[in-house]
Each structure stands twice: as C-alpha cells, then as structure tokens.
Amino acid sequence: MEKTDPNITAMCRPAPGEAGKTGDWRDLRPVIDHTKCIPSVKKRAACYLCWLFCPDGVVKPTIPVEIDLEYCKGCGICAEECPAKAITMIPEGGEGTT
Amino acid sequence: MHEVIWHGRGGQGVVLAAQILAESAYMQGFKGVTSAPTFGPERRGAPLTASTKISETPIRTFAQIEYADIAVVLDPSLLKVINILGSLRPGGLIVVNTPLKAEDAGIDGGHPVAVVDGAGIAFRHHLIKEGAPMVNTPLLGAFARAANLVFLEYIEKGLKWKLSSTVLANNLSALRDAYEATRGPGLEN
C-alpha cells in the first residue's frame, strides 16, 4: 500500500480564522450589559443562549460571557436570542465604539 | 451445442428446471453449460420460457435460442397458446407433460414426441405447491429418458444439489417414476 496522501483532495483542519479575520466584516457590534446577563448576575453557569446560537462560535461561555470581536461578523443573532435583552447591537465607529 | 427450451407458466418451476439441467450436465462432464430465463419480468401463471445450453466446450454465446434442439413443455395448455414449434428446429424432439399418448398430443410437423403424465406423477409423490402439481421434476425425468443427453444419475445429483432435504426424497422418487413412465419414439412401453 502506498503512503497516505493528505493532499490528494482538498482538505483543512478546523482552526480559527480559516476565512481570515472576519471581525472586519462587521457593521454592527454586540455590546453586553453584564448587569442584565443571567450568568453574570447569578455568578453561576446558566442561560448561555448567545453561545448556543452564535453561528460562528465566537462567544466564550465564561462568567462574564465574552465575544471574540476578531471574528464576530456582527450578525446580531445573539442579541435577538438573549432572553434578558442584555446584548445591544451598536454601529461600528459610532457612539460607544472605538 | 445442444439447445433446450423450456415452456411453462410462471410458478411451475420452469427456470429452476433449466438450472438443474445445466448443473446436472456440468456434473456429467460438459464443460459449457448455461441456463437463463426469458429476459424480463416474470408473472405467476403467465407463459414463460427458460433455456439450457449444453456443450462439450465453454459457451461463448449468450443470445436467446433461435431454434432449439429440444423443447420441453410443462403445461400442455400452452400448445394451443404459444407457437412452440416455431422455436424448435426441424425434427427437434419435443417432450410434453400430458396424460395423452404421443400421437394424440396434437403435435404436427414430424417432430419426435415424448410424453409423460407429469401432473399425475407429481400428485402421487406429493409434489404440490399451493394446490398445483410441481411438474418440473417429472419433466426432468422424462427429459433424461427421451433425450439421452444428460443421464438420470446426474439429474439425481442435480436435484440433490439444488433441493432442500425436506423435499428431496419425494422429488427423487417422482424423477425415477417419470423416467420409467415416459413414452415416445424408441421407448418401450
């Protein structure tokens, strides 16, 4: 049997940023009000619906919850799904952003 | 090459008879044997044919038989429905399941005719499936006797190869009974 040939077909291993730094695609940025966020308030793991719904896997299920803005495309699904209304989408370059 | 065409109806074991004859001929030492159903869909009760080709050398033709050397008719009602003689070479032997005598079987054209009461033999040996007599084994016996091509002992071996032990004894006795009872040209009464 010949040696294995990993380049015989197109293939990649999962890694962050396979399509580049997608954070610069963003028009709207998610901003979390941790006083409303359920895990942040109760100091124990709960909710995390933003983590669950994020299609890009950029939400870190920590306390407090963190969003990796290098890769967040700003789709707003997290803000839509948050039951505590803790996430607001704010225009990039506008008030409250840097 | 010897070409045998089997005429019967779906459910009578026509294809199986053609297979057993091929297997028996191979065991007897013929290097080339094929058996095939008529290509296409099969339906219970509808007329159908199967074929067996037997040769001293390996067979290199899979075309349908144009003119058989021997025709075996499992269902005598087909004589009125199908042009059986149309696919039989001039002077080719025809073996018919019928209680009638050969000269009364209604076959013209100067073909040698061998007859056996296959249905009667099947009933006597309890070869009955869904109320109908299984006449394929008796007709194999008649074939062995009338054609003098594949011998009875090899057809017995063919049955042993193909049939389950539960039905084998009845089939073997029916085969031998039919072999003895076959009447036709050159066969003593």
Binding site: M1, M11, P14 | S35, A36, F39, T61, F62, A63
Partner: protein
C-alpha cells in the same frame, strides 16, 4: 480450495464482493441489479458476511453512504443499473473527486424514455466523464475476478471503479464460475487503508470550497487549488492503465486466469478485419469470427475491458495491422456516433493506422445480438469497403428501419 459453481452474473458479483470483505453495502434495488443486493443482504443477515447494510431511499443516498463509509476507512460497495446510476450522477463526481476507492457494479441496462428494463450500455457510457475507472466484463467468470481486482486497483490508484456487465445477458444467465478460495484472495487483496481517515480524534473539513486560485491552509501553507486537484485526478487516471494491467498480471499468476488487463484478443494474429466491442457483445463476436473464418474471412476480435482510462497505447498496438475495423457497441452519443467508435478514431489519429472504421450500434434496449447477425453485418460492411466506402454511416444492427411507423 477454489470451487466451481453454476452462477448468474449477479451471484458471481456477490461472491466476489464477499471475498473482498466489503464492510459497508448501501444500494437501492433496480432491475436487473436487484438480486445482487439481495444476495449480499442475505449474506449479512446470516452472519456469513461481516458488514453493515445501510438501507437508503435512493441511489443518490446509496453512493453518499459509500462515500462517507470510504472516508472513514471502510471498504464500501454499491451496485445499480440504468436510472439508478443516472440518479447517482452527482455523487459519482464526488466519489472520484474525493479519490475514494469505492467499487460499484453497474448491471448495464437501457435508459428511458421510453422505459426499458433490458440491456444496453447507455447507462455507464453516459457516465464516462465522471472520473471513475470503467471495466467491462465478457462473462460471469470475469465478473467475480474483475470485482476482486477492482478493489486492489481502486485502493492502489485511489480512484473508484465501476465494474460493468450486461443486464440479463450476464446478470441472469447461469454458467460455470470458479470461486477462488478466500486465502488466495486475502493474499492478493490487503486490507484497505484510507488515504485520509475522517475521524472525531482528528477532525477535518474535506472538500471545502476551493477557489480559482491556490489556497492557504489553516497554517498558512499554500495548497492545491481546484485545477491542480483535477489535474491530479487526470494524471492518476492516465497512470491507472499500467496499474490495471499489472494487477491483471498478478491476478493471473495467483489465480491462473488472465483476462487480458486492458484488452483481450481472439484470433487476431493474422486478422484482416477486427471486430471490437465491450462486454458480452465481444464474446458473441468471437462466435461470429469463427463463422467468418470458416467462410474464408480472416477476422479477429479485440475485446476492450477498460474503457476509462482509455487504453490508447494498447489499442494502437492491437489494431496496428488491421485492414478494417468494426466497432460494435450498445450505446450511442446521440447526434454523432457510438462513443467507443469516436474514442478509437481519436486514438488512431496521427498514427499509421488508416484502416476503414465502421460503427455498428446493436442491442439497444435488449434487442438480441446473435453471432450470425454479427457475421452477416461484417460481410456487408466488407463489401461496402471493397466498393470504396471507407467510412459508412453508423449501421443499426437488426433495426427495422424499413417498417418505421410514420
């Protein structure tokens, strides 16, 4: 010990698949292939064959299952006919593009409309450009032997193989078949090792979107783009011819049966006219050649086993001394001529071979092809050639063009 049994083509294929220790079977029933999958499902149900039979709702899914199974390192098998093969069309490309050594039996059948369940080779010929190796079998012995060779070839060159044989004519006709013994097959066919094993321990994205340019992988290393990967498939297919021939020679040494590798010849040593074709029509042509020789015509047969990769060098060699060529085939590229005829002409281009080439389309939709008819049409065409007609219109053998309804 090998043993000889009287088997249909479908039984021979099932026995071959069992000897190859296939691990996953996924297939959908279609006439005339159905009994092959029935034999395999019985063998799995009874425990005789240790494999998974994955039931699916379509042929498209059947081949998808085989692609997935082969991707995780399992030896996968499927089979189909006619419309089932056409329904697999998209997945045929995926299997070849993924370089997965899947083996499929295509039990050749005509394609609708109108409906036909009977034999011709339009189904597999119409899939020739999907990147699969295609091998055509002339009898049931060759079916079982080719299936065993097919896994060895597929796993060496990492290209799927389609083992094609004529529906009903072979699939439903019983004839003596020597079934090799398992130990000899095991020595001939080592276990399958996948070129890339998809596994949860080492997750990968296989076949991501590629762009018209080369691509960087996750570590920034530049990898082949679409065009480079397709070039690799093409060069692998071109080189596969030598592997197929070598596997055939090795098989002949171990099993004592040589099917000819890329092609086989019958009475061609001194032949003026060569009849050629693929599958059972070439077997029938050997009978026609015997008859023609009795009539004083020096005829021979070149039977093509391998249609893709097209064995250009081998056919150039085989037809070098031919003074007339008759290409008999059960397919047509509508609007032109038989596909094999075109390919042969292209292979002869620029060589010394200048023999007249006549195309005979035969046996479409199961019309019986008899040796007598092949011999007759050969004589007619030789007469046409003698009358100065180097290339005639395609002959439709035994087609009642004289009584067409208006």
């Amino acid at each position: 010990m090998s043993r000889t049994e009287i088997l249909t083509g479908n039984q021979a294929a099932a026995e071959g698949a069992k000897l190859c220790h296939i691990q996953v079977v996924s297939a959908y029933p279609i006439t005339p292939q159905t009994s092959l999958t029935e034999y395999l499902s019985q063998a799995i149900e009874s425990g005789q064959l240790k494999a998974e039979y994955v039931r699916v709702e379509s042929e498209h899914s059947a081949l998808s299952v085989c692609i997935a199974a082969s991707s995780v390192g399992a030896r996968a098998f499927t089979s189909t006919s006619s419309h089932g093969l056409l329904y697999m069309h998209e997945q045929l490309h995926w299997a070849a593009g993924s370089r997965l050594p899947i083996v499929m039996c295509c039990v050749n059948r005509g394609v609708g409309a109108p409906w036909s369940i009977f034999n011709d080779q339009q189904d597999s010929i119409s899939q020739r450009d999907t990147g699969w190796i295609q091998i055509y079998c002339r009898d049931n012995q060759e079916i079982i032997d080719t299936l065993i060779q097919a896994y060895r070839i597929a796993e060496l060159v990492k290209i799927p193989v389609m083992v094609c044989y004529d529906g009903f004519v072979l699939s439903h006709t019983m004839m003596p078949v020597e079934i090799p013994d398992a130990e000899t097959v095991d020595a001939f066919l080592p276990p399958y090792h996948a070129h890339t094993i998809l596994s949860p321990e080492d997750p990968r994205n296989i076949n991501p979107v590629t762009f018209p340019w080369r691509r960087a992988d996750q570590d920034g290393v530049m990898c082949d783009g679409y065009m480079e990967l397709r070039y690799k498939l093409q060069t692998a297919l071109e080189a596969a011819g030598e592997t197929i021939a070598a596997v055939g020679r090795d098989f002949a040494e171990r099993f004592g049966r040589d099917h000819g590798g890329l092609l086989w010849r019958y009475r061609t040593e001194d032949a003026d006219v060569i009849l050629t074709g693929m599958g059972s029509i070439a077997t029938e042509a050997t009978m026609a050649v015997d008859a023609l020789r009795e009539q004083g015509i020096a005829a021979g047969v070149v039977g093509l086993r391998v249609y893709r990769p097209f064995p250009k060098a081998a056919v150039r060699e085989a037809f070098r001394d031919a003074r007339a060529v008759l290409v008999m085939e059960k397919d047509i590229s509508y609007g032109y001529e038989g596909a094999l005829c075109s390919d042969l002409k292209a292979a002869f281009y620029g060589t010394e071979i200048s023999a007249p080439i006549h195309n005979v389309v035969a046996g479409l939709g199961g019309r019986d092809v008899k040796a007598r008819e092949l011999a007759e049409v050969t004589r007619e065409i030789l007469d046409r050639i003698a009358a100065g007609q180097p290339e005639g219109p395609t002959t439709w053998l035994n087609c009642r063009t004289d009584t067409l309804t208006e």
